[in-house]
């Protein structure tokens, strides 16, 4: 299948999923009612549309940052969730949520995303420092580092829950499960601030990331400013993951599963992998969101549960296929 056909099919499926997402839910909605001021039109403008946009951006960001992280660590298992970037961002944002209480929405709601971004940068730097050497990337170190950071963040978030007042506790708990529920237009604006540079810049690094996959010395010999490239990657990954985590909590496995599927379709070339991952990420999260709303309608499951239910087994499958390689390290 040619690259052009894959693009066409993905866009077509995405449009279908968007339509389905807008019209699915406890309130039946016909797209002809959108402008007539009815209850249905309010549901559309205040709930469905912002939720869909949040889902699209979050899915695209999670998948494209996953693909970028895998190039940065030169390992297809380097998902921001697994190696602790999401958890670091969540701990930082959670601390902000509990310690600042109601004043989180200072700075136009930017406090949480900023905290998540800072947490994301710090954890990415830490993991990179512990696992990337001149000779290559230690998969063992990278994954162990993720385990440690996830454990620390879990403990920290547990402590925060203990400290939190009832109202905050509920907020924190639902947020951590990964939910697209609280999508308001002002939140979208915040996400957009992060999404535009990430989705605009990352695909432009496709060829440079290909060089990086050859190894850091090899990339440097081919004229890549490796240090600068890695710094830009770390900032963009942390920005994307941080913004998504701040608004939706931890939605796992999208960054792992999506790039894998794209690689199966078009190979590992980052010039195609990055944009296609963004597209497929948006599509898959939209579908997961529809499923999460349909399964227990009229209530809904946090979408993080759906992605984990699909992504967890997928990860195990990958591990069994890669067992031989992992044992070498």
């Amino acid at each position: 299948m040619s690259h052009r056909n894959i693009l066409f099919i993905l866009w077509f499926m995405l449009l279908l999923a968007m339509l389905l997402s807008l019209t699915t839910g406890p309130v039946a909605l016909d797209l002809t009612e959108v402008f007539d001021g009815s209850v249905a039109s309010q549901v559309f403008w205040q709930l469905r549309l912002p939720r869909l946009l949040l889902t699209l951006l979050a899915g695209a960001l999670l998948a494209i940052t996953g693909a970028a992280a895998q190039a940065l660590f030169r390992n297809p298992l380097a998902d921001p969730g697994l190696i602790g970037i999401s958890a670091g961002a969540a701990l930082s944002a959670g601390a902000m949520m509990v310690l600042l209480g109601g004043s989180v929405y200072l700075l136009g709601g930017l406090m949480l995303p900023l905290a998540a971004f800072a947490g994301g940068v710090l954890t990415t730097l830490l993991v990179a420092r512990l696992s990337v050497t001149l000779q290559g990337v230690s998969v063992t170190n990278m994954l162990l580092c993720g385990i440690a950071i996830n454990a620390i963040a879990l403990a920290g978030l547990g402590g925060l829950k203990y400290l939190a007042a009832d109202q905050q506790l509920r907020q924190l708990s639902f947020w951590l499960l990964g939910s697209l529920n609280h999508s308001r237009w002002q939140d979208l604006l915040v996400l957009l601030v992060a999404a535009v540079p990430v989705l605009w810049l990352l695909p432009r690094y496709g060829e440079k990331l290909n060089l990086l996959l050859l190894g850091e010395q090899q990339a440097s010999l081919l004229g890549l400013d490796v240090l600068r490239c890695k710094r830009v990657m770390i900032l963009l990954i942390a920005l994307g993951v941080g913004a998504v985590v701040a608004l939706t909590g931890i939605i796992g496995f999208v960054g792992l599963v999506v790039p894998h599927l794209v690689r199966l379709l078009t190979g590992p070339d980052n010039r195609r992998l990055l944009p296609l991952s963004g597209l497929l990420g948006a599509l898959l999260l939209t579908v997961a969101d529809i499923i999460s709303r349909l399964l227990v309608s009229p209530a809904e499951l946090p979408v993080g549960i759906v992605t984990a239910l699909v992504g967890g087994p997928f990860f195990l499958l990958l591990l069994t296929r890669r067992k031989r390689e992992l044992r070498v390290c």
Binding site: R74, N75, P76, Q135, G136, V137, E207, N210, L211, L213, L214, G215, Q217, Q218, S220, L221, L222, G223, L224, D225, R263, G267, P268, D269, E325
Partner: protein, 253 residues
């Protein structure tokens, strides 16, 4: 011309290189010989600009190598390193195409150059194979082809760290031939080899390195003597022929 003056490097308090000076002349092939751990790879890393020296300097045509913009440096200098950590399932032709990156060719010119380099190392039939599925020797041929793809018209220096270690006889000779062609076009070449006979066949000049120090440098006939080589490797080496080139055998048996 690439010149290194009085390079020294310490690592963890141990001396890795001590006062090494070499000059790589255009059109000349210099072969670096020395036992494991002598500092050969480190010397190449310093000569390529990958690693800064503690003291001493590396000049490319009288210009400080570290002061040259990395993108420009990649057009002037190419290097094959021993470790090749690529573990993503790129196609062979995609790997070789990455070598063309610094040349900033168009799509068609890149494809043409890739085809040329694949042919030079008889990789045409593997062009669409997954790189990670190849044997060690095949992977080495692909990576060497990638490095040679980088050697464009403006290239002045090629550094090769054990480029034939996993190749069979035929591909060793193909590569030697390719290196000679590059040198004839005016490139200065420095190559680390362990096979004394290949070294004698390829080299214009030989540099012997032991424990981070240069112990001898000069033309093949002057430097590659049985006595010097026996001492260098701490193993008996005998020369059994001198025509058409020196032939050595070694061993305790």
């Amino acid at each position: 011309m690439l010149t290194a003056e009085n390079l020294s490097l310490q690592r963890n308090g141990k001396t890795v290189l001590q006062d090494v000076s070499v000059a790589l002349q255009p059109g000349e092939i210099t072969v670096l010989l020395g036992p494991n751990g002598a500092g050969k790879s480190t010397l190449l890393a310093l000569l390529s600009g990958l690693q800064p020296a503690d003291s001493g300097q590396v000049l490319l045509d009288q210009q400080l190598l570290s002061g040259i913009d990395p993108q420009l440096r990649a057009r002037l200098l190419a290097m094959y390193t021993q470790q090749q950590p690529l573990n993503f399932p790129f196609r062979v032709e995609e790997v070789v195409a990455l070598g063309c990156y610094p040349l900033m060719l168009g799509v068609d010119a890149t494809a043409e150059r890739v085809a040329e380099c694949l042919a030079q190392f008889e990789l045409e039939s593997l062009a669409r194979r997954d790189y990670t599925s190849l044997s060690g020797g095949e992977q080495q041929r692909v990576q060497v082809a990638r490095v040679m793809a980088q050697v464009g018209t403006g290239c002045k220096v090629v550094l090769l760290d054990e480029p034939v270690s996993e190749m069979d006889l035929k591909y060793q000779q193909l590569l030697l031939q390719r290196i000679r062609t590059a040198a004839d076009a005016g490139v200065a070449v420095c190559c680390v080899l362990h096979d004394l006979n290949l070294a004698a066949q390829l080299a214009d000049r030989v540099v012997l390195l032991r424990q981070g120090r240069m112990v001898a440098a000069g033309p093949v006939a002057a430097v590659m003597t049985a006595a010097a080589l026996s001492k260098l490797y701490s193993v008996p080496v005998r020369q059994v022929a001198s025509e058409p080139q020196p032939v050595f055998v070694s061993g305790f048996l």
